[in-house]
């Protein structure tokens, strides 16, 4: 009975949402020119009318080749600050909630393959993560995926080593990188009177050293997310007193 009713209600919900779908353009049939993102793609918020070409256009209002990154870290950087804050809050909250619990132990020797592979793979994982967030403005990816990959490395460490404990420095890193993000914003405020202003030259689109503060912030985010997720992992490795 309960299941039937649930299904009925879920069906009703689906019908409503389907009804809503009639009101918006069909899938893949969007008029981009009516949306603000058109200006983001052409980087013409401040009135630039030239067509942008890869590795040629210079000193644009925003220099990152990855438009999503330019939105995330530049046009809508404030959202990202908030997003980082949510993650920070969550990590903090998990720490507060699970305070006083012990590290979980499996009382079993980890697999030999895992242990060995770990030694080889771990540097590669970290390197890959770092690559992702350093190239956030050029390729798909960025601080968040990069940080997640680093945290995955930490997870492997936890799995392969019963005695591994995340150092307190992770917290400091997390806090410091958050601070760096806000400070970037404040520096912009001091230099130009605008919070989170991109105060560095944007360079040529598509080059590694371009896009002003975007890659710097993404690096900070990468470290921060890595540290935060690692902290989360280490918190969830706990269990209650028995």
């Amino acid at each position: 009975m309960r299941r039937f009713l649930s299904a009925l209600i879920a069906l009703g919900l689906i019908i409503i949402l389907l009804e809503f779908l009639n009101l918006i353009p069909d899938f893949g049939n969007v008029d981009l020119s009516k949306r603000v993102s058109n200006s983001f793609i052409n980087k013409s918020v401040d009135g630039n009318n030239e067509t942008i070409e890869f590795k040629k256009s210079k000193d644009l209002e925003d220099g990152s080749a990855n438009v999503v990154t330019s939105i995330v870290v530049n046009y809508r950087s404030f959202d990202t600050l908030g997003e980082v804050t949510v993650l920070f809050t969550a990590a903090l909250g998990v720490g507060l909630i699970l305070k006083g619990l012990r590290r979980k132990r499996f009382y079993r020797e980890p697999n030999f393959i895992l242990k060995t592979a770990n030694g080889i793979l771990l540097p590669l994982i970290f390197l890959f993560g770092a690559y992702i967030f350093i190239h956030g403005h050029l390729t798909p990816g960025g601080g968040f995926p990069g940080g997640t990959i680093i945290a995955a490395g930490i997870l492997v460490l936890y799995l392969s080593n019963e005695k591994f404990e995340l150092s307190h420095r992770a917290k400091i890193l997390e806090s410091g990188m958050g601070t760096v993000y806000v400070l970037f914003g404040l520096v912009g405020l001091i230099l130009s009177g605008i919070f989170l202003r991109n105060f560095l030259p944007t360079g040529v689109i598509g080059e590694l050293f371009s896009a002003g503060i975007v890659p710097l912030i993404y690096v900070a985010i990468g470290f921060k997310v890595g540290a935060e997720l690692s902290n989360l992992i280490s918190e969830f490795q706990k269990e209650g007193q028995q």
Binding site: I9, A10, G12, L13, I16, E19
Partner: protein, 609 residues
Amino acid sequence: MSQLLLILFIGSFLVYLLTRMNWIIGVLANIGLAIYSFYRLFTFKVGTSESIFSLIVNQNGTLVYSELSKFFGIISLIVAISVYFFLINWLEKQKNRAVFNFFLALITASTLGVFFSGDLLTLYIFWEIMLLFSVLLVQMGKEDSKKAALNYLTISLIGSYMYLYAVFMLWNRYGTLVIKDIVQKISVETSIFKWAVLILIAAAGIAKSGIFPLHTWLRTTQGSSPDAFSAILAGQLEKLGAYMLVLTVAVFPSLKMFPVLYGGIPVFNYVLIVLGMISILIGTLMAIKQNDMKMLIAYSTVSNSGYILIGLATMDKIGFAGGLFHAFNHAIASVMIFLSFAAVIYRTKTSKIDEMGGLIWKMPLTFITYLVGIISLAGIPPMSGFISKWMIFVVLVKKGMFLTAAAAFIGSVGSFLYVFRPLAGVFLGQLKSKHKDVKEVPIFMLIPMLVLVVITVFFGVIPGPVLNMITAVEKELNIQPLEHTMTVIKSSVGQWNTLTVFTMFAVGFIIAFILYMVFPKAKRIPLTNQYTAGEFLYNYDLYHYSTRFYAFFERLYEKHPSVEKLYEMFGKFFKDIGEFLNRWFYSASPSAYLLWFSIVLLAIFWVRW
């Protein structure tokens, strides 16, 4: 007037501080304030108006002094002064004396504020202040007074919020709240609007004076509130209800607003008269059943408020005067009765009739107060209570409203029955063994009681001064004034000469007294001086005859429907819903939360898409 009110409100804080230092000084200060305002009532010129602070944009509160305010102000201050005098001794046994005194002073101040108010919102404000502090006073009484206070609060708030609703209907329609202006405009409104406004305003008066559908709070509230405060409640606060009823039927021109029916009475007033009739019957029948003497008189209040309402609602010169006069008489009489009860309870610590008896020998002066009080309350000739009841009867007969007259008559007969019960149970009969050492109450408690006795007898013989005030009120409200002299009341049916009647009664009383002295006295034997079935009786207290005093009569209406139970059912219903919501909605699982969430979505979609 605003000056007087300011003095009273500030003075009440002073009373609080003084009572904290020394409670006797506090009580004296309270008496001083009351006497001062009593004096000031006579110095104000009728018809003056003042404006005070504003509560709604562009709308100053106004205070108006009218004959009506004067009349009701005098009643409530007489009540207040006598009760305060009573407190000089009585307050000793009360907890939280400072707060008690403070609240009493605030209640008097706000009561006067209600009578002075020239606009509806100012009236409401004083009304609510009075309500709040009277609730806080009621709960200082016996154990179950906490519950009673909430009962009182709820029903009073129902009345006063209905009133406020009407106030805003008027405000929205006219943009003014001054009673004088509204009264001029309202007679041309649509009938639905008029009905709604007047019924809603009357609701406040009905709730406060204990007329039928909203009378249920009186029993528990009067029964369990502090004993001296019961007197204030009956004498001062319920008269606020009478004031509100005057406002509804007379100040708002019901004669012009509604079509006139049989007997020249507006159709709206008929509704009120029916309610008054029901109140008389219910009050009387229920009073007969009560074993607690305070609850008994509480029900008698219901029936007497019915008389007042009927008198007022006839809008006839005699009937209206009778209603106002009955308000006066009932105030004085009920204060006497409650003070004498307070005196009895002060000594015996109980209010149950069947736990007392024979106190006439121990507390003779209290007995006299009670006797005069009930004579006036039941409307037995030489006291003033009879005059007002007579006036109401006269108008009912004159208008040919025989059904109402019959109800009023039954009420009168019933009142003999119920006032006799405490008389017999408490003062007459056998003295209980545990009350052997009871003494008469201290002097300061006796003074106000005896003064009230004198007042009642005086106005019973010479009702002229009160009737003068009443005719002034009638003139002010465009009702033809009552024709009367100092001792004679004229009506189309006949006239009533109080002096003659008093003389006759006095002569009769003297004759009876002489006969009592002349004839041989009955022999007094103790109760245990007898035996049944060969057994001697040793238990002295077993044979109290006031237990189920009117059992033979009560049997006739034993299984009556009860409004009180109906309200309790409503209360329980709401509480059950609350519990249901709390249990099944607010403490439910996340699934239930989402279920409701989806239902809202589906409902909105269903209705509005």
